[in-house]
């Protein structure tokens, strides 16, 4: 369903200067925000110090460059950065308040709030992404009616509504929406929530005409759901929770698959299931595409605790992928990934564990017994990236207040993190 572009967006507000050091003065300003509606209600701005360093940082702490000049009262969700503009979503919004995503200027060390955009008929915006050409922004909405909302980024700081795609297949809620190009055409890969007796499904949408997205594929999949996808070079990886990881040819796997008719190439069950997200690493320095990193999302109490490891899967034979290594942080759990592929560094959002930077270059599946551990509740020992000395740095665990990192993105020497409790952070990327 296509909705034409409509009303103007919010007005730019002057960012407030953050008060440094231990002073915690709060100032509240109104921020006008309107998107696709005539709602001119204002969004409260609260400025406060970022949670300062606790003074107990370890030697391997990532350098914090700054946090947002605006601390949302809403709970922050996902992040996507392109150029000097970052977009962060919100989670669990009250029913009457609609949902919002924020737009930040991240050129400097302190991400500065530029604007916010309201998205109606959504309590959570669980995913946000910009197309590879920078032309479009895609936002996933939950719960019913689930949709993807597509904006034009002709002005990246003023997204213009292009369309909202929702149908009976997406109605239960779009949990994640990855976008990627296959044989030159832009597609959206939507992981749809279960609802009542309706099972979760994957929906693939042709976005070549963003004003009129077209569904090309739908399949019930996952045990009990498909949580996320990763698309690259015509290969689609699916995070199928307790059903593990599936690898599909959608145009690049040599099996004749297409986005409209995928062909499964292989599957793997990683330790303890709960497969949440995936990153398939292609090392430009070596050409290796051997490893996919799998995030496991165990039960968590937002703001307090999390569980879940990173699993390393050897996909050199996609018909028979196998888990070869893992990484665990006691008392914390991983969420989403980003990579500095030229340097072979994986950045993992780790909820209450902050941000983890791991050296993932080279052979991850061969190690002496002293560097092996057995994942919880398993019997087979695997290479343990911690014991292998692969953990380079830890971010945001040196703060005086808790963090709960949902998403990360590496870009141009910086790492941006979305923190459910505090908003947005900017850190210095790790160098070798």
């Amino acid at each position: 369903m296509t909705i034409p572009s409509s009303s103007r967006f919010s007005q730019l507000r002057h960012p407030l200067h953050r008060i440094a050091g231990g002073l915690g003065a709060l100032l509240v300003l109104a921020l006008g925000a309107a998107c696709g509606s005539d709602d001119t209600s204002t969004e409260p701005i609260v400025t406060a110090n970022c949670p300062a360093a606790s003074g107990a940082s370890s030697g391997n702490a990532m350098t914090v460059l700054g946090c947002g000049n605006f601390k949302p009262t809403r709970t922050t969700g996902e992040i996507f950065v392109r150029g000097s503009t970052a977009y962060t979503t919100t989670w669990g919004n009250p029913s009457a308040a609609a949902s919002v995503f924020y737009i930040w200027d991240v050129a400097g060390n302190t991400p500065t709030l530029v604007d916010s955009v309201k998205v109606d008929n959504a309590t959570t915006l669980g995913d946000i992404a910009v197309s590879d050409d920078g032309a479009y922004l895609v936002v996933a909405t939950e719960r019913t009616p689930g949709a993807i909302v597509i904006y034009s980024l002709s002005n990246p700081r003023q997204p213009q509504l292009v369309s909202r795609f929702s149908n009976a297949e997406t109605n239960a809620g779009v949990h994640t929406a990855e976008i990627g190009r296959v044989n030159g055409k832009l597609y959206g890969f939507l992981s749809i929530d279960p609802l009542g007796a309706t099972q979760a499904k994957l929906v693939i949408v042709d976005l070549s005409n963003p004003a009129s997205p077209q569904q090309v594929f739908s399949q019930t999949i996952g045990s009990p759901y498909v949580h996320d996808t990763f698309v690259r070079d015509g290969i689609l990886f699916l995070a199928l929770w307790n059903a593990g990881v599936a690898i599909w040819d959608i145009g690049g796997g040599g099996k004749g698959g297409t986005p409209a008719a995928p062909v499964e190439m292989g599957r793997v069950q990683t330790a303890n299931g709960e497969v949440h997200n995936i990153w398939w690493f292609k090392d430009p320095s070596s050409g290796s595409a051997k490893y996919a990193f799998i995030g496991e999302e165990g039960p968590g109490n937002i703001g307090v605790s999390a569980l879940g490891d990173i699993h390393v899967v050897d996909v050199s034979n996609m018909a028979a992928p196998r888990e070869v290594a893992f990484y665990t942080v006691p008392g914390a759990g991983t969420h989403n990934f980003s990579m500095d592929e030229p340097n072979g560094i994986l950045y993992a959002a780790y909820y209450n564990g902050g941000v983890r930077a791991l050296d993932v270059r080279g052979d991850l599946g061969s190690c002496p017994d002293a560097q092996k551990s057995t994942p919880r509740n398993q019997t087979l020992p695997l290479c343990d990236l911690s014991k292998m000395g692969r953990e380079l740095k830890v971010g945001l665990k040196d703060r005086a207040e808790p963090v709960y990192i949902w998403g990360v993105q590496f870009l141009n020497g910086s790492v941006y993190a979305s923190d459910m409790l505090n908003g947005i952070w900017k850190l210095r990327a790790v160098s070798r």
Binding site: S95, D193, G196, P224, G303, V304, L307, N377
Partner: protein, 442 residues
């Protein structure tokens, strides 16, 4: 303030009238139902009983979900309970039909309540609330029974429907396991009772849902009860429930504990209950405990000349989840295994019930309840902030209604066969004065 829903009230009242009109047309002998069976009672003649009830009720909730002030009315606890003995008392059939799926489909306003995808509302019970067949026998002083059907697992305390308050306690899903496909065995030797159940862990997903039979046996529970003195009951129980909140079986399992002490006077005019419960959520895939919730509750009632006063104090921890556009609902099934916090609720509820001004076969006992709550985050780091969400630190409710009933009041709910201790019903639920049909086993 939301106006009361007239169409819903009209439907509810019509349903109640239909249930209460139909019931007396059955020429069944009245019988004070669901007492415990002693060894000599197996020779009783065949007897059947029927009880039907409904509670038209209006609740005003101040600062309920998202800080709203709401006033709602509906027909609560609209149910018909029937049962009887066959084969000289060796076979007992009992069932409870519940109409709440029709009379309060959106759930009953009850700030703090949670369970089966509802929050700050009590979920409607299933249409087929109970349907149990029980075989009973005895070998000398040892009495035994085996029950099968849909009903309560052998765990915890009585269902709040047979306790002195219209509003259920927040700990309902910590202290009872209900509406399950189950097989329950019980033995009784003098003052000692042990009952145990194997059952399907899956909670109902709607009033019309049936248990998934393939899950029968994936959960179990055991309860021990001591009756040291007449009217005194000590209970302890343990349960392992597989994935109750996720029907497909992928959800967190629960390990549950409950201990209680119950006292009731010979005429049911004085009643006390104290209980402690703890539920631990366990990730069976990781073989790891992840969340835990505790509850402590004390309640009591006193009835003098038909006027009853009851008091309940409760502290219960409730998991918080992402809410839907309807702030009284959470996703079912959920899309992950996370929670957004644990809120510790402290509540105080006072209830006053008056004698029935209605004479005849369908008395109605007017009552009023006032409940004040105090929710606080158990861990300040949690993203769910109760005081912000409810716009106050002390939400409260007032409820007024009329307990309508045809037939004798049931004494207990949540036990079967020889596991049902003898004793009177709680008079605070309304018993006509000088009711000669009441009889108590000693």
């Amino acid at each position: 303030m939301r106006p009361t829903s007239s169409p819903t009230i009209a439907t509810a009242i019509a349903t109640a009238i239909a249930m209460l009109v139909i019931a007396p047309t059955f020429a069944w002998a009245q019988h004070e139902g669901h007492e415990g069976m002693t060894s000599d009672s197996v020779t009783r003649a065949t007897r059947w009983h029927l009880m039907a009830q409904a509670i038209p009720v209006v609740t005003h909730a101040r600062n309920t979900a998202e800080g709203a002030d709401l006033t709602e009315g509906y027909l609560s606890q609209a149910a018909a309970m029937a049962g009887g003995d066959l084969l000289s008392g060796h076979l007992r059939l009992q069932g409870t039909l519940n109409a709440e799926g029709l009379t309060m489909e959106r759930g009953e306003l009850s700030t703090g309540a949670f369970g089966e995808g509802y929050v700050d509302r009590r979920h409607p019970h299933t249409y087929l609330h109970e349907m149990v067949a029980t075989g009973l026998g005895a070998a000398g002083p040892l009495a035994y029974s085996i029950s099968a059907g849909r009903g309560f697992a052998a765990f915890g305390t009585d269902d709040p429907m047979m306790r002195p308050f219209e509003k259920y306690p927040i700990n309902h899903h910590l202290s009872q396991i209900l509406e399950r496909a189950m097989i329950t065995g019980a033995i009784r030797f003098g003052p000692a009772i042990v009952d145990a159940s194997t059952f399907g862990g899956d909670e109902p997903t709607s009033p019309g849902s049936a248990p998934l039979m393939r899950r029968l046996g994936d959960s179990w529970s055991v309860r021990a009860t001591a009756l040291p003195l007449p009217g005194v009951e000590l209970q302890g129980s343990y349960a392992r429930v597989a994935s109750p909140e996720q029907r497909a079986g992928f959800g967190l399992d629960q390990r549950k504990r409950n201990v209680s002490a119950r006292l009731i006077s010979a005429d049911g005019g004085r009643y006390l209950l104290a209980e402690w419960a703890r539920t631990v959520d366990r990730d069976h895939g990781r073989n790891e405990d992840v969340f835990a919730y505790e509850s402590a509750l004390a309640e009591g009632s006193a009835t003098v000349r038909g006027v009853s006063l009851a008091l309940r104090l409760e502290q219960t921890e409730r998991p918080e989840e992402e809410r839907l556009a309807d702030p009284f609902r959470v996703p079912r099934p959920a899309s992950d295994l996370g929670i957004s916090g644990v809120t510790r609720w402290r509540t105080a509820t006072v209830a006053l019930m008056m004698p029935s001004p209605i004479s005849g076969p369908i008395p109605g006992y007017p009552f009023i309840e006032v409940e004040r709550t105090s929710p606080r985050a158990r861990d300040a780091r949690s993203v769910f902030d109760a005081q912000s969400f409810y716009r106050t630190g002390s939400p409260w409710m007032v409820t007024a209604g009329l307990r309508l009933r045809f037939g004798p009041l049931h004494a207990r709910m949540g036990r079967y066969g020889v596991a049902v201790p003898d004793g009177p019903p709680i008079r605070a639920l309304g018993i006509p004065g000088g009711d000669s049909s009441s009889h108590h086993h000693h």
